[in-house]
Amino acid sequence: MTAGVQGGVGLRAPGWERWLAIGLALLVLLVLLVLPLALVFAEALSRGWAGVASALADPDAQSAIRLTLLVAAITVPVNTLGGLAAAWCIARFRFPGRGLLLTIIELPLTISPVISGLVWVLLFGRNGWFGPALGRADIQIVFALPGLVLATLFVTFPFVLRAILPLMQAQGSAEEQAAITLGAPAWRVFLHVTLPNIRFALLQGVLLCNARAMGEFGAVAVVSGRIRGLTNTMPLHIEATYNDYQAQAAFAVAALLALLALVTLAARAGLEWGTRRER
């Protein structure tokens, strides 16, 4: 922190240079982020609110919204619990393969989402490893809800873990040990000591995980099969309607998705101060 302050003071440029740099950054921000986003909303509203309402009332759009919410409702809690468990193990214990685990957990962030989807097709698709067995048992995974959930789980797994692991490692386990020696059972240690200490970071991770779960396109596109009104999530529905030359309908759903993302972002910003307090 001290270094940052000193750096800030040392780097204070004379007036016009500073304004040039700030202006340039704002321009880039405007052209690359604000303008496209504003365009989404403008296009969605090109036929007024009625156009938006009718686009969202479309049965296929309704199905896509429901499916997206359902996938997020399953994957976010699962990955929150999984991320908590994994972070706790990595932060609190030394075990063989710990370094490998740390690397593998980053995998979903580094490989292309298409591959993240493809692995499930290779495993559970009709010609995949378990395809024949699943076919005999009449269980549909790929091109159905389970496939969508699996692909989304895979892609969004690192978010919660990455949000809380550095904090847990920095805080150490002394407080938990103190709680244990004071007679607290494990669940109370977790509830009263571990969780409150990471709550803001955890919420941040959950929000990010949720944003990605709702917005994921690549991995979901591979496993979905894109059956309209059945396996299309919101991002897939947006692409499908756009390809049908229904630009306004596509942008209406896109605007809803973008709105969800903006709410997430605002919530996250609100949490920032809380996280700083924890550190």
Binding site: A174, E175, Q177, A178, A179, T181, A184, E278
Partner: protein, 336 residues
């Protein structure tokens, strides 16, 4: 509490330790870092599992008893207060997490928190958060939190290690006073010999996972069991020597032979700076004289070494550059 024996062979962090602490006694585990004293404390607390041996508290074997059921109060070097709880909530924690059947009522808990806040001389601080307190205050809160559960043993892991010198001294006095009033069986881990000697009823000096000597502060100071204990308790000079027929001849320092009650063979002489007497002539030369403080210190260059001597009160300090010799007659001798 009686008869703690602990073998911890695999990593040899603690080996063949046999110690017993009387009820109400204040024992200090003293040793350099890495000597196994903290490991021993964590074994007693149940945060670490022993590979062999038994720990008994009040005659009850603690084998298989989890840390939360041991009823020991542990105070950490860096306090480990719950940062998101107030001081009062921190102190009350051990009572609030009890199962309903043995949990005191809210009013009882609040009353006990008030009493403990008085005890640690922080009345009215209950509503504050740990990050609003100084180091010394935090450590007292940590102590109150450990005392709240009325532990059978109080374990202190370098409790003053993170504090500055003056606070450390005050807190030390206060802790000893507290112990004299409540007579709680206490085990203190420290690497500071002055702290151990001042606070404890008995001191166990540890080295490389073993207990080298156990005794009262006076015993370990006056009669160190071996060269390590002697060297660890304050500054001292070590000189190699050969003993033949009760006479020690120093091999790496030009000083006159002195009588030594050890069998023939190689030995090591250990002597404290104030036990070395200065002679008017010899192979040494006065290198520096420091008159600051109540006692005069003299640095003597002799052989290839620099030896520090503390002069007795009232002695006339020698001139810098003058020739001098060393009298090591008061050295203690140990087998090499």
């Amino acid at each position: 509490m009686q008869d703690i024996a602990k073998r911890f062979a695999a990593t040899a962090a603690v080996e063949d330790v046999n110690l017993s602490v009387e009820r109400g006694e204040f024992l200090a585990l003293l040793g350099p870092s890495g000597s196994g004293k903290t490991t021993l404390l964590r074994l007693i607390a149940g945060l670490e599992a022993a590979d062999a041996g038994h720990i008994r508290i009040d005659g009850r074997d603690m084998d298989g008893v989890p840390a939360r059921a041991r009823h020991v109060g542990l105070v950490f070097q860096h306090y480990a207060l719950f940062r998101h709880m107030t001081v009062a909530a921190n102190i009350a924690f051990g009572l609030r997490v009890r199962p309903r059947a043995t949990r005191p009522t809210k009013a009882e808990i609040a009353a006990r928190v008030e009493r403990l806040l008085d005890l640690i001389q922080l009345p009215g601080y209950g509503g504050r958060y740990p990050d609003q307190l100084s180091g010394g205050q935090r450590q007292r809160v940590a102590l109150a939190r450990a005392l709240a559960i009325e532990p059978r043993v109080l374990l202190l892991d370098e409790p003053f290690g993170a504090l500055d010198a003056q606070v450390r001294k005050d807190l030390r006095r206060w802790l000893r006073g507290l112990h004299d009033r409540v007579h709680l069986t206490t085990i203190l881990v420290t690497h500071d010999q002055a702290e151990a000697l001042e606070l404890a009823d008995r001191v166990a000096v540890m080295n490389a996972g073993r207990v080298e000597q156990v005794g009262t502060p006076a015993e370990v100071w006056d009669a160190p069991a071996n060269a390590f204990v002697h060297g660890f308790l304050g500054d001292s000079l070590r000189v190699a020597c050969m003993i033949a027929e009760g006479i020690a001849r120093f091999t790496d320092l030009p000083a006159d032979p002195v009588p030594a009650a050890l069998p023939d063979g190689a030995a090591v002489a250990v002597i404290r700076p104030h036990e070395i007497a200065l002679r008017a002539e010899g192979a040494g030369r006065v290198h520096a004289v420091s008159l600051a403080g109540p006692l005069a210190h003299v640095e003597v260059a002799i052989g290839a070494r620099m030896v520090e001597i503390t002069l007795p009160p009232g002695a006339v300090p020698p001139r810098v550059g003058a020739a001098c010799g060393l009298d090591l007659a008061r050295a203690r001798f140990y087998r090499a």
